[in-house]
Symmetry: C4
Subunit: 215 residues, 4 copies
């Protein structure tokens, strides 16, 4: 990871390549978020057995986990979108972090499916929380790296400095904190903690938008 500053490329020199990285990233995230629909595939419904009205109740955990994951992934996308919009230069290391970030995002339809199918077992929200915390940490590493190496517009926008500070680790921390609650108290606590983290994150994003406007 120790790379001399000289290995960076100016965005202006390679706009097409930069656009391609963004398009690839967006493509992977768009596919991952759309594959979430494949989780709506409980055996009873797929085979068309029994009365649909009576089986619909079984969809409740699927709908809930779908809503959580759609909110989580789209928030990651919004942040990535804004972060890359402020990049002036990029480097091989940033590219590799971005691929690691994508590799973890791609797992989310699977951990969402687990969350839905193993309701009531602590291991399901634990796996999910680890996945989200990992994506969120790599995301934070990318932003911190870009800010420290001055790959972003100078002066660094306030909202980005904020996200790249230790304060930006609040989201992964919230997901990790949900783990002991899921294990030692009840699996139901985990989604409640996540919802809190997402809502406070949304508020932060709004204030970030306001600051960006005025800044």
């Amino acid at each position: 990871m120790v790379e001399p500053v000289t290995k960076h490329w100016e965005r202006s020199e390679s706009e097409t390549e930069f656009a391609r990285v963004i398009a690839f990233t967006d493509g992977v995230i768009a596919i991952a978020i759309t594959l979430l629909v494949l989780n709506f595939d409980t055996p009873e419904l797929r085979e068309g057995q029994g009365l649909l009205v009576e089986n619909l109740g079984a969809l409740q955990p699927t709908v809930l986990s779908y809503a959580i994951s759609f909110a989580v992934i789209s928030r990651f996308w919004l942040l990535h979108h804004r972060f890359f919009g402020s990049l002036d230069r990029w480097s091989t290391a940033l590219m590799e972090l971005n691929l690691l970030y994508l590799a973890l995002i791609v797992l989310m339809p699977f951990t969402t499916d687990i969350l839905d199918n193993f309701q009531g077992q602590a291991a399901a929200p634990v796996l999910y929380a680890i996945n989200v915390a990992a994506v969120s940490t790599v995301n934070w590493l990318m932003m911190r790296y870009a800010v420290n190496r001055r790959l972003v517009h100078q002066p660094t926008p306030d909202w980005l400095a904020d996200f790249a500070s230790p304060y930006g680790l609040i989201t992964p921390a919230a997901f990790l904190v949900s783990i002991p609650f899921a294990v030692f108290v009840s699996p139901l606590w985990a989604p409640a903690i996540w919802a809190l983290a997402l809502l406070s994150g949304a508020r932060r994003r709004r204030s970030m938008a306001a600051r960006r406007r005025s800044g």
Copy 2:
């Protein structure tokens, strides 16, 4: 949802970011519409048991529901495409409405599968109608919000003013109206009402195109 006018961004100031939002939206819709093919997967056909010619009849409801959903999603896409083409500015709230819109579009391959697998049960068209009505309503909210906040070209194009007026709620209304017919009369009534709504919508779109041309 109450946001001061100051939180809007000019499209010209952030063309790249705007293009990314459109690309992401198009990506999700393109994937959702293509995933419809996965519904062509009845157990008998998948395992290759029995004579294909004799099993082909079982495909009829699948083909029908595929045709309806392809028409519905592609109409949504055409409208979104035209609507976003007339935007001059955008805001966080519009972005969030767009994500909600996508979250509902992504569900369509599933509700289409239900429509196909539970033919003859009222709950299937009811679920489907709720899904389409929800997408359509969020779509209308986006257009109304953009027109009211003057995020679109000024003066507002006639066709868009039309769609953003209460008159634009005809599509979701038609889908909601199909629900009591499906429940109290027969599940077969619902697709007939939808076809009417789609055809009248297509005529409206053509006249919209004509007006746009002359306007």
Copy 3:
């Protein structure tokens, strides 16, 4: 389908919207071609039962049908790509033909799966041939419509005039002709006729490229 000439849009006036139509089309085709991999999913292999070496033989029809469909879809894409590259204007009717074209392309992973799973039964290649002939016919209609309405660069490029002439119906005709052979002679004849059609098409495309260069 009878539309006055006045309903066309200049490409130069709406380059972004035009780009979006192309991106959507490419997205759908890219997803459809990639979903072909899901056909490599015979039950024995999926469950990991038995010795892999002994089961590999069962993959042969899957590999063959995959190769045919990849060749067919990518040829359609190449042609679409070249055709749209020569468009100067577009219209609502062209857009609708394009959506119909996509609706038929999206079915190809399914008809490919049928081709693979029901080897030896005439109905499988018949279904496949109908699908390809339908895509090919709509493709031809789009090109003919665009040439007749002068939506393409003027003077019309030779290769496009060629494809839009009755001569361009050779591909769908070849696929339709394979049907009686599959039914009355043997299902094995169909792929042989298709291979011939594809190879002669490739030669035509090469000569088209040469003409385009010189033209």
Copy 4:
């Protein structure tokens, strides 16, 4: 494959078409890499039977094969991205090689699934190694063809000359060499050889980046 030099197109003359080829390629690769998540679908987990904690161990080979394939495909993408960035002209033959390249990439989610499901049987890593070696060889052919026909920026960048030299066949060779080890020694040797090949490739890529910077 014998094509006169005259059949090439300048990138500057057809930037839009060139961009479309890139977008299609990126789309297919993005979908293929995201479909890898569908392999996380062992029957026990899907049906939600048994205790999740006890079944998680069964995921180990899936996680491992996912990590290998994500690394392999993303490396292919990075190289393709850089290679196409240096193209000034393109030809029909290059386009066809690119489609062949994609047809082989699309198979990777399947060979990855095999690798995961048939752990311990030599045929699984053999199939996987053949797939990667084939992609890698076609990739090398594309680069060699482009360098020899002078389709790339002149003078040819050092790193590309390097990749297009016989030296660039090291990756496919490493994957082919792993085959006898898997068959005659142990299936476990194959992934170890691949990891070595990938790591040495990564080092080569870094030095390539350095050279490119200075070159």
